[in-house]
């Protein structure tokens, strides 16, 4: 597949001068248009050593307006990055809507290097490529434009290039021992690269293979490609906006009406004295277990969802009471900030992924996409429908990093909710918790119920199941939550002993 990039393409100096001047004008013009568009542009420049990645990137920085683009050069991970799932460093650097991010050293670098150096096998590589495809699909589904360029060199050209670089004192520092070592692995590298490029060239995010032997040629080709991709993407966006009124929503999903919630026994309760005893027992246990988890650097992510007034806050409090405040944080999901709105909807949850050994408790979460955003029409049907698998992939990334994930649905019935609303209105420091909106939401109980049922059915996986908590009785609910977390921690610590 690389033959097309071994033909010896070159551009002479005067042609280059003329073409690059025109290209620059066009790029600046399109970049200015892009600023008003609700999607980011993600450019990945990858390829063989000596293929001129650095030169191309510097040219892009010269042509484009650096105010609205950023070059993201990721080499070795920092300790803050190593303590999180591997994609965290990419999420934190993703460009915001209307801007361009150029990645040198992207999510492709490690999987390729690992395989070439035989630190991973074909199956591992394949699994990683699947994750990459999922990530890119998630971004392009959100309208991100992903442009991937691969700079190729023939074997003899690579040798020549590196010799040239090594000879010139101004560039010799760039040739490292690793490059020389890499040279001996040219054939392996090409074969791995071919596999990677084939597996990850998708309609929405295809690879462009560019001959890298002549910098003028490769820069112009990459620049021209970027210009065209952005131009087409803006056009497509404009057409979609114009047509959106006419576009039929995809048919509502044909999921039958599950009755998981109705099956819960809401009469379950605990007497106060028994509650006290059990709470004390599990709080003591949690205190110890969470210390061990911290020492062993196992993080936890706890997700609380449930009806308004279902007692999420109270359950969270019974957990945190027995934990050290230095090691957990409670994230309350309210309206997104404008920086959050300028990214994929999962971005604001990635931000709070805990460091090694720490705990993040989400009071409401990414499940808002398939609950409130679905019911209130804040997300389009296609958006919340694809969110199920996006969420599963997101959680799998946590699990793969050894993070304990617990998802609690606190369930009460409609009558109990009304009573609690009324009781809250009596308590001075809880009054602010009840607004007209709460009463309005009650009206949509059955829509929400449908959404909850479908959410649980679709996102309860064996490794990350939903725990449905009968919460009409607060005592029962709190003990069930803390006990479940204790058991999960115990299990995890056992497995790692």
């Amino acid at each position: 597949m690389f033959e097309v990039a071994e033909l010896g393409h070159t551009v002479d100096k005067s042609a280059y001068k003329e073409k690059s001047a025109q290209l620059r004008t066009e790029l600046l013009t399109i970049q200015n248009q892009l600023r008003g568009c609700p999607f980011p542009v993600i450019i990945i420049i990858s390829g063989v050593d000596g293929g001129g990645k650095g030169e191309v990137i510097n040219k892009l920085n010269e042509w484009l307006d650096p105010h609205y683009m950023r070059t993201i050069a990721l080499s070795e991970a920092s300790d803050e990055e190593r303590e999180r799932p591997k994609f965290w460093r990419y999420w934190r650097t993703l460009p915001s809507k209307g801007t361009i991010g150029v990645y040198v050293g992207s999510w492709y670098s490690d999987p390729i290097a690992q395989r070439v150096y035989q630190k991973s096998d074909d199956n591992t590589l394949q699994a990683e490529l699947n994750q990459i495809n999922q990530l890119e699909e998630l971004l392009t589904n959100d309208n991100a434009l992903i442009i991937k360029c691969w700079l190729h060199l023939k074997k003899d050209m690579q040798v020549k290039r590196l010799k040239q670089l090594a000879k010139d004192p101004a560039t010799s520092w760039r040739v490292t021992d690793k490059d020389r070592q890499h040279l001996g692995l040219y054939d392996d590298f090409i074969s791995v690269a071919e596999n990677v490029l084939t597996e990850t060239s998708k309609a929405a995010a295809p690879w462009l293979i560019v001959e890298g032997s002549d910098n003028r040629y490769s820069s112009l080709t990459v620049g021209q490609h970027i210009l065209e991709r952005i131009r087409r993407h803006i056009q497509r966006h404009e057409i979609t906006v114009l047509a959106s009124a006419d576009l039929a929503e995809p048919p509502a999903s044909q999921v039958e009406q599950y009755n998981l919630l109705d099956a819960l026994d809401l009469s379950l309760k605990l007497e106060k004295s028994s509650y006290r005893k059990q709470l004390e027992k599990y709080q003591g246990k949690l205190n110890e277990l969470s210390r061990h988890a911290l020492a062993a650097k196992h993080s936890s992510i706890l997700v609380f969802e449930g009806w308004d007034a279902a007692g999420k806050g109270g359950a969270i409090r019974r957990l945190t009471e027995s934990m050290d405040a230095r090691h957990y944080q409670v994230i309350s999901i309210a309206a997104p900030t404008d920086e959050e709105r300028a990214h994929h909807y999962l971005w604001r949850f990635w931000r709070h992924i805990p460091r090694a050994g720490k705990v993040t408790i989400y009071d409401r979460s990414w499940y808002g996409r398939v609950l409130v955003e679905r019911v209130e029409g804040l997300a389009k049907a296609e958006q919340w429908q694809r969110a199920y698998s996006e969420i599963i992939n997101f959680e799998e990334a946590m699990l793969a990093h050894g993070i304990v994930i617990m998802k609690f649905w606190l369930h009460i019935d409609r009558d109990e909710q009304l009573e609690r609303f009324k009781r809250r209105e009596q308590i001075s420091y809880k009054q602010f918790k009840i607004t007209d909106e709460d009463y309005r939401n009650r009206e949509k109980w059955s829509d929400y119920q449908k959404a909850v049922n479908e959410m649980i059915a679709r996102t309860s996986t064996s490794k990350s199941p939903w725990l449905l908590v009968e919460a009409n009785d607060k005592y029962h609910a709190r003990v069930k939550v803390i006990k479940a977390y204790c058991e999960a921690l115990e299990k995890m610590l056992d497995e790692h002993n």
Copy 2:
């Protein structure tokens, strides 16, 4: 000064139960009020080992609503933190307006520990305390509420406490070798602490010394203190808002009309051929120097200010053309995001401080406070007037970390500006750069001139001077900028060789 906290205060269980229940209600109520206030609450819990810092913090987390507070536990710095000025890790964790941040391990921890372990001397400690005072003053001037609590223990109590902790299997893990070592240094610790507390107790940010031998007593005392401070601060805020219409602005500063700008020789120019030669020379030099700086892990911060159309972008481009895009970023200062607005105005510049060896170029900067914000009335007189020293302290923190700072003022005259505006309107990809606002700003030329003159006079320090660039001729300006940066890098590299 610690005698007040050696009296053996205790609170019995039943009194505690009653008082803590009431305190909790009051704290939740005030916290709810706080959410609408335009200032953050910064709580620092510090004190002797065994003084019960952890217990107090856990109690606060129990009493307050964890959704709008965060415990910031900073122990060892991450590599990303070590590569920045020492206050960076505090800036990045500062609570936003309307929320509470509780620091365990604050800016006090290191200076105290270093002095106790004799790794620093009195003068160093004093210098650090000055920086702390400056930081706290900067925050309180911006209406932040800073609450500082010191938990004290008598010497014999500390011994007893640690023994208790060590005996109980549930707490023995908390007693580290460091604690035991610390114990032998009790007297030194107290004497250093006394010095620190005295030097940093200011009217706006006083220390509260609390006896730490009884957890119930200390938690209640700290909680009560926090409640009262927040309550008073909200009251004061409300009064200020009500009265603000009547409050006279402080008198305009009596700085005489400097004529630094008028003294510039705007006729300076370079012929094209000479420009080409010199540009090539210095670009080559910069390429090499910036590589050395990267290898030596010396970062740079370049600030560009100047009249509209003075050629900032062009000058920046001539710099970046010869630098590796992987190692610099250009930050364009436009309207702040809402996350930025929820913090001190310097926060959004701290965010972009480069890692070791990297370069951040600010196209417009924190000087907006004393330029556009002053002239357009976006900052109050007291705000922009105190900004001069805030900025100097900010830059000193960078300098102390070994960062090279360059500040360029690109100067053109009014006629030249008009001509450039008109020329820009002719060029398709530059049209968007000219708006009606640009013409409006021209009307205020003399106000801006006054502000620029005062800015330069007040913030040109010997270590971080302004470089005034005659920019009527772009060639001259660009060469002057790149040459100056080369010289600064050369000097810095020489000094470190």
